[in-house]
Symmetry: C2
Subunit: 634 residues, 2 copies
């Protein structure tokens, strides 16, 4: 099979409209009758009317006695009236029928029983404490409109109104076919060259959330005939089919050819990033969609093209997500060739929402987990400037965003520990951290884009951490320095230290991996190199940059580099050897008002908790001397 | 069993806190290990860390050729370099490993093949288009914190990170016991005195939504021993039990006595309206909650007291609902004896949210279906004045509220028809109508509390509908009158017209049911009575008021009255006889800018649609002459 080097790239909207138009009846909806008791979350396909009234008859609204109102006339505190049992009144509980001649109810607590009967001290006007037939629901009345998603209260009212079956949109069955010779099931032990198949499981969950019934098929290797056979079987057993991946134009991308043979391909390639290699087709009178393999591309392709088909089947209207306006923290450049979806973290700092772009790679699935939403750059725009206010489509509610501490700066694994502990506290408090190095964090704090900045910047002249940097970045402003931890920095190297590295002086003879500019660890390295009289250009790999301690450790563990600098906990977590070069202070910088946020009070509380201390002991390489101390810096 | 006339009424907060404290470990949480592929919607009980890195190895980010970067040095448009297959390069697809000595990838579209090998026109720097091991996920990295609700994307990333099993909070099993001698299963044909059992089905759905597993038991009659047996069995088979009803203090309310015998009752009665008769208890080391029988009380009692216990089991944090601030349209008086939950409809008129209280009865379940939220009046407040801005806890999203037409005024069944048709249109457009009569509707419109007011007010002097009323209520303002329908008004009477009613003149000799003051139908009646020379005091039941045409029809059908006035469609729907007394005009009044709302454009479109016409034909008694015409009134 030859490569088909260039895909068409149709604008996203146009592709979607063309597809839905081409599908016509192939995208449902179908309807079915179901029991009301099974209807939670289902969507009505037609209006529902009450069969009975509720209450079904005039009934007592209170526990007490049913009386004939005219026989109570004149009763008062000063001239009580005695009613005779079986003649003048009847004991009723709430909900009991009030039959003629009775036409009113007197509450139990307003009566007194004696031998002669029941004594009352006030007249009961007609219809007092009686619920007339149909007070709540009148037979024939519309209870629900069409396209209504059934809630618990609806189930109660439908049954009260005598409705036991309703018409709803049928749930579409969706076949999901993972393809690829290199992919393996999650439960097998992966070898080099293997890719763990996870997309189809994500699709199953996405289909369920949208009200469909997913059916996943076995992994099909990259083989034209096998793919064709699997697609035909899935089409036979489902209402629509998703094929993943092989939707691009590579040598082993058979999907589009198979779909051309057995059906009609309307679109191959859309102007969307990530997510360009999408196939929108119909075969055997049913929708078939080819989805790219990169997880972020896959997610976006499903949201943009599978969801509308599912909604057409399920009758769900729902909007496409909550939108807010947020100030962009960094310039975003995009191409006129596509609409781009940039994952962002969002937080509310002061009275404005700010958003920080995350990794943009189509393979960076973890950034989807970390993200709070998408900033969408339209195809006709070349991007946005830093400081511009942009639309963000949120994954979370605005309430969750409002309760999030935005933490921007230096990376340490203890942030994960605090974040985990915070999530265990009441009512959805969150810590959202972005790692751009100590200096970058302080700059973000200065621009009002973060609540707190973790920082470990050494002043070479005084040997004091952070203080002089704060004074120079926030001149004339009073800032708070919340003392964090002392941690051991050092050189990480392969297990057993095969190259016999003993310290900074050995960096001239090994392949090194550095941290990015502005990272406190890099500042420390530069200081140590200077002390040792080594020039940066003499270190092989000084310009190779990794963004976190763990990323450095991964490079060393993977053999890409012989040595990198970082904290003990990262080396420990990756099973590396560690040569200490010194202890440093890792603190949190913030504006004074931030200390008053309830979320921040929780952060400070957790910093001093036994569970935090125990977790750090487990990670290793930390000391908590002075931790939690609050200093004012001006 | 004696009546226990007075319950304690503990403040809501205090009761909840006392109960959760008393339950201690009895409210979980328990944890369990489950497969990641089954984890959608479940909540992590501990942080989850990656077992593998992703990618697992250095891999190609593009389809193309893997090369040794140093061997491409110097390649350019003017001096292309030819690479030899198997030696200088290797063909790779996206995701394939890039093994040493290869350290870069050149995209397929930037290469040209000839007999000697592959021609390239640009040098490839080291690591170009290569995804380093761990670029997305580093082994040992925290993927999710504790208390995180699993989304589809999380499933994908967990599997990519080698995690196939996770610890989550176990789903609590909840036994639900409906009790009551008078209640019947929904599938039986109810007789007088029967109450259709619907609460337990609502509870099942509520428990499911909160992540529990409901188990409903058969209806138990009001019998001490039978209730005790059922509760003990349910306790044995579940993590907690809900008993409904019998939670009050009536002669047949056994629940509290049973629970006192087999366990401990912490609270009986809370200061909440509706929902006072709640029992909070523990038996056999498990929570047992007694819930009142009225559906609205039941709903509120479950939300306030069952949900916190469920959340303690499931680890779900979630907030207690979206809040907005809205202007109250009517005075609300409440007692210092309780916290009151008032159902309200909410709409956005102009730039402010307005809310209108609905029926306050504990039995008015249908008002829960119609409501958009609760206005909560705290125990320490005696109510709110009309025009005050109050907190509303929404059942719907603010987006849905923003897309709702608020329709306040006269009632007609055609509003249900339009509401149903609107729900079928794209993206959640809604019509929300409150029925307070024509005059009340115009006053609400005047105060900015509604978008449109359906009105059929006859000017006795001119015989013209609505116009003079608009001029007098909106002096000097230009208003829009959207012509609606002509409809037949008449007298409704029992099937076969047993009393031989022929017209208005017969109202002197029958039991009548009237509409409320300000209703256009009452204005019409008064006019007709005057024409016939009949005084209101000569009509038996002139002061008996019903709020809608259907409510009047229900009273006549139920035999509470012999005759009432209303539209043909209502008589037709309830199978009543109908004696026409005249045709009238039923129109929609609004401010000019309302016509520009997209939702209103949809309303106007539907008013002229074939489906609307067909539905009105089905209802009967309408003509659409002049319908959709827009008049400016000043």
């Amino acid at each position: 099979m030859k490569r088909n080097l260039y895909l068409n790239t149709m604008p996203v909207e146009e592709a979607g409209e063309l597809y839905m138009r081409s599908l016509g009846d192939a995208a449902g909806p179908h309807t079915e009758k179901i029991k009301v008791t099974d209807a939670l979350g289902r969507v009505t396909s037609e209006a529902v009317y009450a069969l009975y009234s509720s209450p079904l008859y005039n009934s007592a609204a209170m526990d007490g006695i049913a009386v004939v109102s005219s026989s109570t006339e004149g009763a008062s505190e000063s001239s009580p009236v005695t009613l005779r049992a079986g003649e003048d009144y009847m004991v009723v509980d709430t909900g009991d029928p009030v039959r003629k001649p009775y036409d009113a109810v007197i509450m139990a607590e307003d009566t007194q029983e004696n031998e002669e009967g029941m004594i009352i001290h006030a007249a009961a006007p007609a219809w007092q404490h009686v619920r007339p037939v149909g007070e709540d629901i009148v037979s024939g009345e519309m209870i629900l409109t069409r396209c209504h998603r059934i809630r618990p209260i609806d189930i109660g009212v439908l049954l009260s109104g005598g409705v036991t079956e309703i018409s709803v949109f049928a749930q579409p069955k969706v076949g999901i076919i993972p393809t690829g010779t290199e992919i393996v099931e999650p439960y097998e032990d992966p070898k080099e060259g293997d890719i763990i198949e996870s997309n189809s499981r994500m699709f199953e969950a996405m289909v369920k959330e949208q009200g469909g019934i997913p059916k996943r098929y076995d992994i099909v290797p990259d083989d034209y005939e096998l793919i064709k056979k699997s697609v035909l079987r899935a089409l036979d057993e489902n209402d629509m089919v998703i094929v993943n991946a092989g939707s691009s134009a590579g040598t082993e991308d058979y999907t589009v050819h198979v779909l051309r043979e057995i059906g009609e391909v309307f679109v191959h390639g859309v102007a969307m990033k990530p997510g360009k290699p999408v196939i929108l087709a119909k075969a055997c009178g049913k929708p078939v969609i080819g989805i790219p393999g990169y997880p972020v591309s896959a997610y976006l392709a499903v949201e943009n093209f599978v969801y509308p088909v599912l909604r057409s089947f399920t009758g769900m209207k729902g909007s496409s997500g909550r939108k807010i306006r947020a100030v962009l923290s960094r310039r975003l450049v995009s191409s006129l060739k596509h609409r781009e979806y940039v994952r962002v973290r969002v937080g509310k700092v002061g009275d404005r929402y700010v958003c920080a772009p995350l990794a943009r790679g189509a393979g960076a699935a973890m950034s989807m987990v970390r993200a709070d939403g998408f900033c969408v750059i339209p195809q006709e725009a070349e991007g946005y400037e830093a400081g511009e206010t942009v639309d963000v489509i949120l994954f979370r509610t605005a309430e969750e965003i409002d309760r999030t501490i935005v933490c921007t700066g230096s990376h340490d694994m203890l942030l994960d520990v605090i974040s985990d502990l915070m999530s265990g506290e009441a009512e959805g408090i969150r810590l959202s951290s972005t790692h751009i190095g100590s200096l970058g964090g302080l700059m973000a704090l200065q621009r009002g884009e973060a609540h707190i900045s973790p920082s470990h910047l050494l002043d070479e002249e005084t040997g004091i951490y952070n203080e002089s940097y704060i004074r120079s970045i926030f001149p004339g402003e009073e800032m708070v320095l919340l003392k964090g931890v002392r941690r051991i920095q050092g050189l990480m190297t392969a297990k057993g230290n095969p190259l016999g590295i003993r310290g900074i002086e050995d960096l001239k003879r090994v392949r090194f991996v550095n941290r990015q500019r502005g990272a406190g660890t890099r500042v420390l390295l530069d200081y140590k190199l200077k002390q040792a009289g080594i020039k940066p250009e003499d270190v092989d790999g000084y310009d190779a940059e990794a963004a976190t301690h763990m990323a450095v450790a991964a490079q060393v563990a993977g053999g890409e580099a012989d040595c990198g600098m970082g904290v003990y906990s990262a080396a420990h977590a990756m099973g590396l050897d560690f040569i200490p070069v010194g202890e440093e202070e890792y603190d949190f910088v913030m504006r004074p008002e931030t200390l008053d946020m309830p979320e921040m009070k929780c952060f400070v509380k957790l910093l001093g908790s036994d569970e935090f201390r125990a977790k750090l002991d487990e990670l290793g390489g930390y000391s908590l001397e002075g931790s939690g101390e609050i200093m004012k810096i001006k």
